[in-house]
């Protein structure tokens, strides 16, 4: 579960953002739609605790997650948040399997190879596990990053433009998988996008 209240953020005195309150329960989905320049990525980074809001509160998994120290924030991120980016990025020197295991390692959890293989077959890239990530297509890479975000059974999954670099076919597939997988672990799924194709896929939505 993730909620925010009265979130404000400013990069400088001229560039100031005020965000609408958001709330997404466990097992629910939320679409945040907005044109570029409206602070979509900023909001996502605030929710992911990568940025500190000027004012306002964030609660993650029923705990206050704003106004905490950066090492606490790192810990909350490791345990409770899975992030999916617009374009999938990986540790290029590592294989697909190793990349998926990284969140386990950084969160100090057991490196669950069985789970990684299971997710890989669920998401349809089981045959690529030993390859380097740059040998995969964009659609495949995005599916690998979904698997990576799911590895720690996060409470919240944040997706930043997960479909904008994908064609219609892959877009549908990726969004279905995202919804299905987050429902399986009972997480809140928050998708930030300008991609109008996703409007009909979500019941709850917020416009920036």
């Amino acid at each position: 579960m993730i909620t925010s209240k009265n979130l404000h953020f400013s990069y400088s005195s001229q560039k100031h953002f005020t965000f609408p309150d958001i709330s997404c329960d466990d097992n629910e989905t939320l679409l945040i739609l907005g044109q570029s320049g409206k602070g979509k990525t900023t909001l996502l980074h605030l929710l992911a605790l990568l940025l500190k809001p000027t004012s306002g509160e964030i609660h993650i998994a029923n705990k206050k997650a704003s106004g905490i120290s950066s090492s606490e924030a790192t810990n909350v991120r490791a345990q409770n948040i899975g992030i999916i980016y617009q374009r999938a990025h990986f540790a290029s020197s590592l294989s697909v399997m190793e990349n998926i295991l990284l969140p386990n390692y950084f969160a100090g959890q057991k490196q669950d190879r069985d789970k990684a293989s299971f997710l890989a077959s669920e998401l349809g890239f089981a045959e690529h596990l030993e390859k380097k990530t740059n040998q995969l297509s964009q659609g495949e890479q995005q599916r690998v990053s979904i698997a990576r975000a799911l590895m720690n059974n996060p409470n919240v999954i944040l997706a930043d433009e997960p479909t904008s670099s994908l064609d219609d076919d892959n877009c549908g597939k990726v969004i279905d998988l995202l919804k299905k997988q987050s429902a399986q672990i009972g997480a809140s799924l928050v998708v930030v996008t300008h991609d109008q194709r996703l409007k009909d896929e979500f019941t709850n939505s917020v416009f920036l």
Partner: protein, 405 residues
């Protein structure tokens, strides 16, 4: 998955950069290590052989040449001196022992040295099998001569004129091997020792024949003027060091040379070259450090997004800093190990050449204490070169890096 594995994967990803850094480090460390090894072993070899020899007298000429030829058996002698003058020295109150030497022939490149028992006693060479040479034309051979395989106890051979293999063979008179020395680690190992009379016999005969044809009367002259090449002298007390050399140089036909002075001179001459090589090696090591620095700096720039990504997954900055440090450290360790191996290969090659030309071998391959300091220095270099660019991790703005892409 752990830091170590990620670091190795990163090094492998940048194979050429890693290779260059490790190669430079290998060269630098290898050179310094080789210099240390050579310096130590040459020094040891040289000091070991002059132990207990206070002065050498030979024919007038370069004192260094006298030392090299009479003690180390690696240069040509300066000429001959009359035995009578050497015998006069024996009566000098400062002089404790006089060991006469007579060189000029070889067998397969091993020098045949005419002397008496005091020579082998001086180097504490014990006969391991057979016996000491006793009468004319009997020889006792050093351990390396025996190992070379052609000579055994009982075998006979003809010597060749000159000090290198391939001179005229004195075919008519043959030496007989009667004993083999134990290995001593000194110059004796590579020598064939015989009595002074054997050398006189061979040359009087040869020269006598030649002279016989041309100058009949000179044969007689040779009979009473016996000559030797040089003599190793030990003083009774240090006072001899002050008085005798000058006395000999001024009043006799001989030249006195002091081993300790000449060896120090030789080392200071070599020292210039060694210093230059050492400076070169240090420069290479510094370049290696710069190479580690640059390659990590560049890869950090390229991997900025990766680093931010790992931070967003919950990695701590310190952990990622350690990961990069580990990359520098691994390069140092690889470079150091390869460098030490390289220096041993170099030593082996050098030893082969020295063995072939001078019969000296340098075969101490164990790790020197200085090389442990060298290891510490290599690690420090790796840490420094990796830490400087990696400190950037602490300044990295995760959100901006992820947003910029």
């Amino acid at each position: 998955m752990n830091l170590f594995k990620i670091s190795i994967a990163n090094l492998k990803e940048k194979k050429l950069n890693s290779f260059l850094s490790a190669l430079l480090l290998t060269l630098g460390i290898g050179m310094i290590s080789l210099l240390l090894l050579l310096n130590k072993q040459l020094d040891e070899q040289f000091r070991r052989n002059i132990r207990g020899i206070d002065m050498v007298v030979g024919a007038k000429g370069s004192p260094l040449q006298i030392i090299l030829s009479s003690i180390y058996q690696i240069d040509a002698p300066t000429g001959n001196i009359p035995l009578s003058e050497v015998n006069t020295l024996k009566r000098n109150p400062f002089v404790k022992t006089v060991i006469p030497l007579s060189m000029g022939d070889n067998y397969n490149g091993f020098r045949i040295v005419g002397t008496n028992e005091s020579y082998s006693e001086h180097f504490e060479a014990k006969v391991s099998s057979g016996k000491m040479f006793n009468s004319t034309m009997e020889v006792t051979i050093g351990s390396k001569v025996a190992l070379s395989g052609t000579l055994k106890i009982g075998s006979t051979f003809a010597s060749a004129h000159g000090l290198d293999a391939g001179g005229d063979v004195h075919g008519d008179k043959k030496y007989k091997v009667v004993g083999i020395f134990e290995p001593t680690g000194s110059v004796v190992d590579q020598l064939i020792l015989t009595s002074l009379s054997s050398v006189w016999d061979i040359h009087e005969h040869a020269e006598g024949e030649a002279h016989h044809e041309e100058h009949e009367e000179s044969v007689e002259h040779h009979e009473d003027e016996k000559q030797v090449t040089s003599a190793l002298i030990r003083f009774r007390n240090p006072m001899g060091l002050i008085a005798l050399p000058r006395q000999i140089n001024e009043n006799t036909s001989m030249q006195a040379a002091l081993p300790s002075i000449e060896i120090n001179r030789l080392f200071s001459l070599l020292g210039v070259g060694i210093e230059t090589l050492r400076a070169l090696a240090l420069i290479i090591i510094v370049i290696a450090g710069a190479s580690v620095f640059i390659s990590l700096y560049n890869s950090l720039k390229e991997r900025k997004y990766e680093i931010a990504l790992m931070l967003s997954m919950g990695a701590t900055r310190t952990r990622l800093f350690l990961m990069l440090l580990l990359e520098g450290l691994m390069l140092s360790v690889i470079g150091y190990l390869a460098g030490v191996v390289l220096s041993r290969i170099g030593l082996l090659a050098f030893s082969r050449a020295a063995e072939k030309d001078f019969h000296y071998s340098l075969k101490e391959f164990s790790l020197l204490p200085e090389e442990i300091y060298l290891f510490a220095a290599a690690l420090l270099l790796g840490i420094l070169a990796a830490a400087l660019p990696s400190l950037g991790i602490y300044k990295l703005n995760i959100s901006r890096t992820l947003a910029e892409e």
